[in-house]
């Protein structure tokens, strides 16, 4: 009698465990299916870019069959762009502007973040807050007065104006996240370095920068993304093709009146998106760390 009751109990328990397990499995598979749907939706545009970029102009203008598939894949668009002097020019300009922006931004923000996280001076608290507020100023708020200022500096239609202006977009956020990373370094580490005989700059160079390397990488990626993808400033301040960077060059060069060379435009988009995508693929964790770091204070 007692054994049967016990057996039944075990059976019920097993069943319950089984159903719990099954509901978990359902939740898991449901999540996977839902995520797949979103991934497909999110990746439609890049996929379409790729498909179009592989089509010849003839195939595009034929307008027959599914536009989602490519029947005669060709690299002619890519070849055209690679050998097209204007496109080479845009690419080179983008690289120059970006490298300089990143370098300038990182120097400014690392120095400032070191100072703001470790050496309090009169008004340093206010300055930290100000830095964060500056980060919230969008480029579209000030581009008109800046147009005047750039004009007065004689830098209209000169890509050097971007090297001057892009840091205003990158530096506040880079400083902000570097303050966070530097502040998380224990104070004893500076004290140990002071006792070991390091000066402030040695401390920054030999201790802070190596220890906060993940932060440096995250900030560098951010500065790179901002500078590579910015659109408003170059559109407003540059107008000849020898000065243009990729984002505006593609639009103004490959769209002539209402002639859209979609195959070439898409190939250009792909080539222009390549550096951010490659960096993202290799340094995803730093990229994500940089994204989420803005939500906390140093």
């Amino acid at each position: 009698m007692s054994t049967t009751v016990a057996e039944r109990r075990i059976a019920v328990a097993a069943q319950r465990k089984h159903s719990l397990h099954r509901s978990r499995m359902w939740a898991l598979w449901g999540s996977y299916i839902a995520l797949s749907v979103f991934v497909v939706m999110f990746l439609v545009p890049p996929f379409y870019t790729l498909m179009t970029s592989l089509k010849s102009s003839a195939e595009i203008s034929a307008q027959t069959g599914s536009p989602w598939l490519v029947r005669h894949p060709t690299l002619e668009n890519f070849w055209y762009l690679i050998t097209y002097p204007n496109f080479q020019r845009y690419y080179l300009n983008s690289i120059i502007v970006t490298i300089l922006t990143v370098a300038v931004s990182m120097v400014i923000s690392v120095l400032a973040a070191f100072s703001l996280s470790r050496m309090g001076f009169w008004g340093s608290q206010t300055l930290s807050t100000g830095v964060f507020l500056t980060y919230l100023v969008p480029p579209s708020l000030l581009f008109i007065p800046l147009f005047q200022i750039i004009g007065q500096l004689g830098l209209i239609n000169n890509f050097w104006c971007l090297v001057l202006l892009y840091p205003t977009l990158a530096v506040p956020f880079c400083t902000w996240i570097m303050i966070g990373y530097f502040s998380s370094i224990p104070k004893e580490l500076d004290e140990a370095a002071l006792i070991d005989g390091a000066g402030y700059l040695q401390m920054l160079w030999k201790i802070f920068i190596p220890v906060a390397m993940p932060g440096i990488i995250a900030a560098t990626i951010f500065a790179f993304t901002v500078s590579w993808g910015a659109f408003l400033y170059p559109l407003a301040y540059l107008y000849t093709s020898n000065q243009m960077v990729l984002t505006v060059g593609i639009i103004s060069d490959l769209i002539r009146g209402d002639v859209f060379q979609w195959g070439k435009i898409m190939a250009a988009c792909l080539l222009a998106s390549l550096p951010p995508i490659v960096i993202y693929a290799f340094l995803m964790d730093y990229y994500v760390a940089g994204l989420t770091a803005g939500a906390t204070k140093g």
Binding site: P186, E188, L189, E191, A192, A193, L194, I195, D196, G197, A198, Q202, K206, I207, P210, V211, M213
Partner: protein, 367 residues
């Protein structure tokens, strides 16, 4: 190697709060001095002022015959071991130890000679290529000490170096630190809140409280002759029992302390002179748990029988702690584990009054 002195050293923070209230302290060459006290007593601040990490508000700090108030830490020729080790996480053990020498532009050979020697003393030679995160707590502690040793500084400063270690390792490292000091003989200032660490390591212990020095002395001296109620309570574990009492006439023309209506303890004749002038005054009686133990038939002079109702019994193995309440004041006795003690029963005890202390309640001074 050098002497260290503090002259009327005051540290005042912005809000006008004094963390250190004018302390005087002389530490002689080769000496191992431990600053001990509860948190916020100013011991760490004092150490950091000696290191040059905190500015001195007023007074002077002397190292090796020079006032160093205005000397930055790197020029004071000191080395410091921090509570969380403060190892540079991106450098190998070797580079951590060599960093200070490299900054001082020592020749490469000299650096590796010194690091190797320090590594040998501390038994960390196999770890030299590792990064700090690959080390255990005790190993990190050794590396932090190695970093201090290679510099061969005038003074070693330790800021609660063992408090991040687990209990077993702490005991082991304590011995290690003592051994290292016996080898290198560098003047050492060591800060801890752990009185056992202070007692075991120090040549002299400095007990601090509320920004002041309560007492300076050799460990045994502090234990047997505490100058204040604070020191009496701080040194020794479990802490000394404090009972409000009254000095009055005893039997046979002697003196006695009356603790409660039913407990009156005769003062040993040797203490009569000392305590006579406090007759009829309210005092505090201090008696360590180890001087309140199981009842013995053969009493020695100064031993008195007391009977107390047991509250809690804590067997510890080699001894048993028994807790009581006397007029609402908790009292602890340290008895032989063979003693039979049950809660709510009356336990007969011996109080060794040769070891008693009497304090003024207002000043806390031990008389």
């Amino acid at each position: 190697m050098a002497e260290v002195s503090c002259r009327k050293v005051v540290k005042e923070y912005d809000a006008g709060v004094q963390a250190v209230k004018g302390i005087d302290l002389d530490i002689s060459d080769h000496e191992f001095v431990v600053l001990v006290g509860p948190s916020g007593c100013g011991k760490s601040t004092t150490l950091r002022m000696i290191a040059g990490l905190e500015e001195v508000t007023s007074g002077e700090i002397w190292i090796d015959g020079d006032v160093v108030n205005d000397v930055p830490p790197r020029d004071r020729d000191i080395a410091m071991v921090f509570q969380n080790y403060a190892l540079y996480p991106h450098m190998s053990v070797f580079d951590n130890m060599a960093f200070g020498l490299k900054l001082r532009k020592f020749p490469k050979q000299e650096i590796s000679r010194r690091v190797d020697e320090a590594a040998r003393i501390l038994d960390i030679t196999p770890l030299l290529d590792r990064k700090p995160r690959a080390l255990s707590g005790g190993q990190r502690q050794r590396v932090a000490m190695g970093r201090a040793i290679v510099r061969n500084p005038k003074v070693f400063l330790f800021d609660e170096p063992l408090s991040n270690l687990d209990a077993k390792l702490r005991v082991q490292m304590r011995t290690e630190i003592k051994k290292v000091h016996q080898t290198v003989r560098t003047t050492t200032v060591y800060v801890t809140h752990d009185q056992i660490e202070a007692m075991t390591l120090a040549d002299r212990v400095v007990v601090m409280n509320g920004g002041n020095i309560e007492q300076v002395g050799a460990p045994q001296e502090l234990y047997h002759h505490p100058a204040t109620r604070f020191v009496a309570g701080f040194i020794g574990s479990p802490a000394m029992n404090f009972l409000p009492c009254r000095v009055q006439d005893g039997t046979n023309g002697g003196l006695a302390v009356r603790v409660t209506d039913s407990i009156t303890l005769p003062i040993p004749p040797a203490r009569m002179d000392r305590y006579g002038k406090f007759k009829d005054r309210s005092m505090i009686l201090g008696l360590r748990p180890e001087h309140l133990f199981e009842y013995h038939e053969q009493a020695k002079p100064g031993w008195t029988r007391v009977e107390l109702p047991v509250d809690v019994v804590e067997p510890m193995g080699m001894e048993t702690m028994v807790h009581f309440f006397v007029d609402g004041v908790p009292v602890c006795a340290r008895v032989d584990p063979a003693t039979h003690a049950e809660p709510n029963e009356i336990l007969p005890l011996t109080a060794d009054l040769n070891q008693m202390h009497l304090m003024e309640p207002e000043t806390g001074r031990v008389v």
